[in-house]
Symmetry: C2
Subunit: 315 residues, 2 copies
């Protein structure tokens, strides 16, 4: 018995058949044609999906449902993609469309929530009854598990944790407000701050790590240069730890979860990042006294978390 | 049939017998002697409580339990006051002590949570299935209701909404961090900013409202002077709306509740405050498009919310 989990992003759509243990037994994927309408893209998805369903059935596996994690603002109760900037979708009744084309029951949630369910049920969070997932990538996404259940707010529109202001007069955020966590703790923000720091210090080791080309700066440069002893890089990383640490302390004070799980590109810094964050949060806490500590940990399912979590809407 | 609700604050302890409809049928109260130990204060409470219980029983009312809302960090699962700065209490097993002295079952939560339950079940929030309560008083307290249930985080240590940073390099907060919502949206913060503004403008109408005495400044002065057309006061209030508005937008993006309910001294500004906040949030939103709006409203139970909510732990 398996569920199918689908991860719809701006550039590609990936699907997997996932068993009760959260293991992927088969996958499919295709690139999204940026010029296509939502009808065209979902029509392609349904064709690929029906081929995949036949393949899974031929393996004598029962399919119990199709879960979808989709980038954008999702109304999970109604099964509608209200709006997705990355996909250029507006008010798309995807649940109904996929149910009609495949004959299977469909459930949807947003992509960050799907990844959260995946990590909570089968990944880094499976020992915890409550957790917050933060994805540190192009943006900052969030997902919240309370008592083993996804919490997503009314109409699936809550837990936009990247869009909580930590510096109200600060950097512009993509959402139109100033000073959001996303504008400080995303890979995009770290890259921006790395470039700014390099421009103030022509002698920084960071320049040699990118062959003197600012366009080659990614989220690893400052971390790598810090490890090699570069002072300017060290300040960039310390600032990043401060921003992310303040965001994490806010989430501790709001949710007081068992754990905060970090995923996305920056989380690949692994123990080095976690140790710095742990030290920051230990020395700048509120409410730790007399309360169990919130553990800070790294996601382990990588890019499969979304598919596995989408499937887990039925598992 | 009634439950008894007790509200333990730093200066007084109040109790009420509350019926199934959330109506208070009788009350008692006494002042806390600041020099007393927790043992002495709870001993006094139990004596007063037993007198009150006899009085209620003489009215032929069955008592189903005793709920306690207490200032401080509460472990609701264990029934312990871990720490209360206002009371000078440390690791006090109040549930066990009151159960032993009265023979009734006791449940506890913190005072902001008790007020939240009161407003949610019998007050401004009874039409909503999810809400966030913000108390704007000496500090900023918070409470969260999800699906008609109190959410309080692990060990009752979550929803410290006043201690979420909105300006990471900003004003010092009582909790030791910088830039918490409490350091901007509490009555204490409003009074601080009112005084600062007055010191920069000797001609402000605010001076005449306090007879030229800065010590007389309270949370109403800037609002009153703004209504009378004072420009400096207007800026103080606009700034306050900005701070509180940013905090409210954060809570919308985190919880996307049906409503955010404001209580405490500043909330007494009523419609005037709510209209300004509504306007701010409408023009500075994230995620409102395609999502139902979160209503901003005023609490209605006043100082009884804590007692009624504590009783509601059994109702």
């Amino acid at each position: 018995m398996v569920a199918i989990g689908i991860d719809i992003g701006g550039t590609s759509i990936k699907g997997a058949a996932v068993n009760k243990e959260g293991l992927i037994i088969d996958t499919f994927s295709f690139m999204v044609n940026q010029g296509n309408s939502s009808d065209e893209t979902i029509s392609t998805l349904c064709k690929e999906l029906n081929k995949f369903i036949t393949k899974i059935k031929n393996k004598n596996k029962d399919i119990i449902g199709i879960g979808i994690g989709c980038a954008g603002a999702i109304n999970s109760a109604l099964g509608i993609v209200d709006y997705s900037n990355n996909l250029g979708w507006d008010n798309v009744p995807i649940k109904e469309m996929v149910e009609k084309a495949t004959g299977f029951k469909v459930r949807i949630t947003n992509d960050a929530n799907a990844a959260t369910i995946g990590e909570a049920k089968f990944g880094a969070g499976k020992e915890y009854s409550s957790l917050v997932l933060l994805t540190l990538g192009t943006g900052v996404g969030g997902g919240v598990i309370i008592n083993h259940q996804l919490f997503e707010g009314n109409e699936g529109k809550g837990t936009e944790l990247g869009h909580t202001v930590i510096n109200f007069d600060g950097e512009m955020c993509t959402c139109g407000r100033r000073g959001c966590l996303e504008a400080y703790a995303s890979a995009t923000a770290l890259i921006r701050n790395t470039k700014r720091a390099m421009e103030t210090d022509p002698t920084s080791l960071m320049w040699s790590l990118v062959d003197g080309d600012l366009n080659k700066v990614d989220g690893r440069v400052a971390f790598d240069a810090r490890r090699a002893g570069d002072t300017t890089a060290s300040k960039v990383v310390n600032d990043y730890i401060f921003y992310l640490g303040e965001g994490i302390l806010n989430l501790c004070n709001i949710f007081r979860p068992d754990a905060i799980i970090l995923s996305g590109g920056i989380a690949n810094e692994g123990k080095y990042l976690l140790d710095l964050l742990e030290e920051y949060c230990q020395t700048n806490h509120y409410g730790y006294t007399g309360a169990s500590k919130t553990k800070i940990d790294k996601a382990i399912l990588g890019y499969n978390a979304g598919m596995i979590g989408a499937a887990a809407l039925f598992l």
